[in-house]
């Protein structure tokens, strides 16, 4: 799967010009193929008027960050259900900062034990959503935190 490819069923949101929309990269680093959650989130964010780029499965942290740079996104959402989050989330943050993506928020989701969440936040992950998180809460979180100028007005 090529990195940065736009998804075919992306909706045009008529009330907003494309350049005003928050751009979110959703990615699945690591080897697990559990993509139900990330695809549901992708649709929910699109339905909420955001522009979503989904990388597809099994992207290395390097590929994720390269896609974020290329697509000029405001937020990166990472989904892992395999238990490899303590290795892969911080790696994405580190590489993103090296690329100068300082104002891009990085958030994550998946099967993440509670005690890992503070450690991930210390390492630069802004928020972690665990099973049962509401789509609406994730949407609000992005709207509140994304760097985009219009984000504050929405």
């Amino acid at each position: 799967m090529s990195v940065g490819r736009r998804n075919g069923f992306q909706k045009e949101i008529e009330t907003m010009a494309p350049d005003e929309r928050i751009r979110v990269l959703l990615a699945k680093p690591g080897l697990d193929g559990h993509d139900r959650g990330v695809k549901v989130i992708a649709r929910a964010l699109r339905d909420a008027g955001m522009e979503v780029i989904y990388t597809g499965l099994r992207q290395t942290p390097e590929q994720v960050v390269a896609a974020a740079v290329q697509e000029d996104v405001d937020a990166i959402g990472l989904s892992i259900l395999s238990g490899a989050h303590m290795t892969l989330f911080p790696r994405v943050v580190e590489l993103a900062r090296e690329e100068g993506l300082d104002d891009v928020i990085i958030f994550g989701g998946g099967i993440i034990p509670d005690e890992d969440i503070p450690r991930l936040k210390e390492q630069g992950v802004t928020e972690v959503f665990t099973p049962g998180a509401r789509m609406e809460d994730i949407i609000q979180f992005i709207k509140k935190n994304a760097r985009h100028d219009v984000a504050a007005q929405q």
């Binding site: 490819r5 490899a84 290795t87």
Partner: protein, 559 residues
């Protein structure tokens, strides 16, 4: 009831009941919701009566247990003669760790083994491959070569304990390691029983653990079916799985229809490769999910047997009654478990397991209550096994065959499952088959739509999940003893692989790998070639790599 047949006294009686009793009751206290539906969002009626199943014929729709169409089960005595196999899926860390867990489960009354492999193994990478970083031993056990497989089954006689292995893309390589381990134990392959998942179609549809494109993958599967039929006759070379389809967000009907259509595809490919349907179909097995919606699930299992009988007799002309009988394993729905108030999961699992039993499953895995948080701890795994034992020995449901048979509600649901499945078969046949439907993204899109609809129903409160969107506790103080997998497993695996590569005959390894690649380019069965590689201690990654240039790698199209 869309039309009322006035000549049918029972329909007339039902109409009179509506006027006389129902309408006043509704006026006095309206129902809680406008529509009631299953977890698959299928609408459910207020009441089911004989009017709900017009033209119902006992002998053609149900028949007697152990006889066509097998709606009431494949055994004449149900569970009175033999209980289901309690088969808990386990695997974590190194082969040494999982071997200990297997022995623990066998000591506590488990009757079969089921191996969970870690993600690098599932994807065909050795533990020391760069892509394996952070993943070794996390979701299952790390198996990179015959040396690991020997440790995994150390002290476990493979002639006596049946073993199920959940592996797909590199299934034939793992099967070769398993058979070589049996060989080293001195076991007779003719007596070795077990099941290989080996179901690649549902990987493209749902679980997404693939290596090669669909067509060469189908060839590897056909090779294993042909080889096992000949050499390992008590082994099930494929377990056609709806479990993952359901976990990935399908409805119950989609799970049933896509799984059985996958089954048809494997049968067709094996026939195309020259096999006789009655030689191999008796060893095909199925694997279904057990979700929360009790009656919908039971209807699904009963319909599965009835449909498979119809498919085997009508579509394939199978003559052997063993080809007509659908046998299946059930696992409770991991996706239904919640991280919130995790002890509630024990109750969910019990209800789901009961559905599997009332549906006539041959074997069952009950999930541990902590699985929304981590792999099961010893304590959680034991409670899950105890749940099955309580159903088997205390609930009384095993005393009679198919206790719910004849329920108007259940028989209507079973009929609807059958009709809906044949409707999906028609759509998939129109694509040219399941491989073509997958290439067109059809089942994938159906499931994405279903899972999004369900998530919306949860968020607007139409569907309540206890502890998640209702009955929520703000301060959850529950401390669970979670299983921790540390990075020492990866270090151990790296050392073991380094040692293996320095001690084995590397010339022999290179020679067997070359033969494998050559054989794969021809029509030769790949299983004997894989066995030669394995006996020379070629690693999983090396075997998978040897086939990449021949078969190519799968790239998922955008849907």
């Amino acid at each position: 009831m869309s039309t009322i047949d006035v000549t049918n006294p029972l329909q007339e009686a039902e109409r009179e009941w509506e006027e006389r009793t129902l309408e006043p009751a509704l006026k006095k206290s309206p129902e809680l919701k406008k529509t009631f539906s299953t977890v698959s969002l299928t609408p459910i009626e207020r009441l089911y009566t004989p009017n709900s199943v017009p033209g119902f014929e006992y002998e053609t729709e149900l028949g007697f247990p152990g006889e066509p169409p097998y709606t009431r089960g494949i055994h004449a005595t149900g569970y009175r003669g033999k209980l289901w196999t309690m088969r808990q899926f386990a695997g974590f860390g190194s082969a040494f760790d999982t071997n200990q867990r297997f022995k623990y489960l066998l000591e506590h009354g488990q009757t079969g083994l089921s191996v969970a492999f870690d993600l690098p193994t599932l994807m065909g990478y050795d533990s020391d491959h760069p892509f394996s970083e952070g993943e070794v031993g996390k979701c299952g056990v790390a198996i990179s070569s015959l040396a690991d497989m020997e440790v995994l089954f150390d002290g476990i006689p493979l002639e006596q304990v049946t073993t199920s292995m959940t592996i797909n893309a590199p299934a034939s390589m793992i099967l070769a390691m398993f058979l070589a381990t049996a060989e080293r134990q001195g076991a007779d392959w003719k007596k070795v029983g077990g099941t290989l998942q080996n179901d690649i179609l549902k990987e493209y549809i749902a679980q997404k653990e693939w290596i090669y494109p669909p067509r060469p993958s189908m060839r590897l599967i056909t090779d294993t079916i042909e080889f096992c039929t000949r050499e390992v006759p008590r082994f099930n070379p494929i377990s056609i799985s709806g479990y993952h389809i359901r976990e990935a967000g399908s409805t119950a009907l989609q799970e049933l229809a896509f799984t059985l259509r996958d089954g048809i595809e494997y049968v067709q490919y094996a026939i195309n490769a020259g096999m006789d349907v009655d030689d191999f179909v008796p060893r095909l097995s199925f694997f279904f999910n057990a979700h929360n919606d009790f009656f919908e699930e039971i209807a699904k299992y009963r319909a599965a047997r009835r449909i498979w009988h119809r498919v085997m007799t009508e579509r394939f002309g199978a003559k052997n009654p063993r080809s007509w009988m659908l046998r299946f394993h059930t696992q409770t729905a991991g996706v239904s478990l919640t991280a919130q108030q995790p002890l509630n999961n024990i109750v969910r699992v019990a209800i789901q397991a009961l559905a599997g039993v009332l549906g006539g499953t041959q074997s069952l895995h009950t999930d541990a209550y902590d699985e929304a948080l981590a792999l099961p701890s010893d304590e959680a795994a034991l409670i899950a096994l105890r749940t099955q034992q309580i159903i088997a020995h205390e609930s009384g449901v095993t005393n009679t065959v198919d206790p719910l048979g004849g329920s108007y509600f259940l028989e209507k649901l079973t009929r609807d499952m059958e009709d809906g499945t044949f409707e999906y078969f028609r759509k998939i046949d129109d694509f040219g088959g399941m491989v073509e439907a997958i290439e067109a993204g059809f089942p994938q899109r159906e499931m994405q739509d279903a899972s999004y609809e369900f998530q919306k129903a949860v968020e607007c409160g139409d569907k309540i999940i206890v502890g998640v969107n209702d009955y929520v506790m703000q301060e959850e103080t529950m401390e669970l003893p979670l299983l921790q997998i540390n990075e020492s497993v990866a270090m151990l695996q790296e050392e073991r692989l380094q040692k293996l590569r320095s001690e084995r005959n590397n010339e022999l390894v290179a020679r067997t790998l070359k033969k494998l690649a050559d054989g794969a380019s021809s029509k030769e069965n790949t299983m004997p070639l894989l066995l030669e590689c394995v006996r020379a201690y070629a690693t999983l990654g090396e075997m998978c790599d040897a086939l990449r240039p021949v078969f190519g790698e799968y790239q998922e199209p955008a849907f």
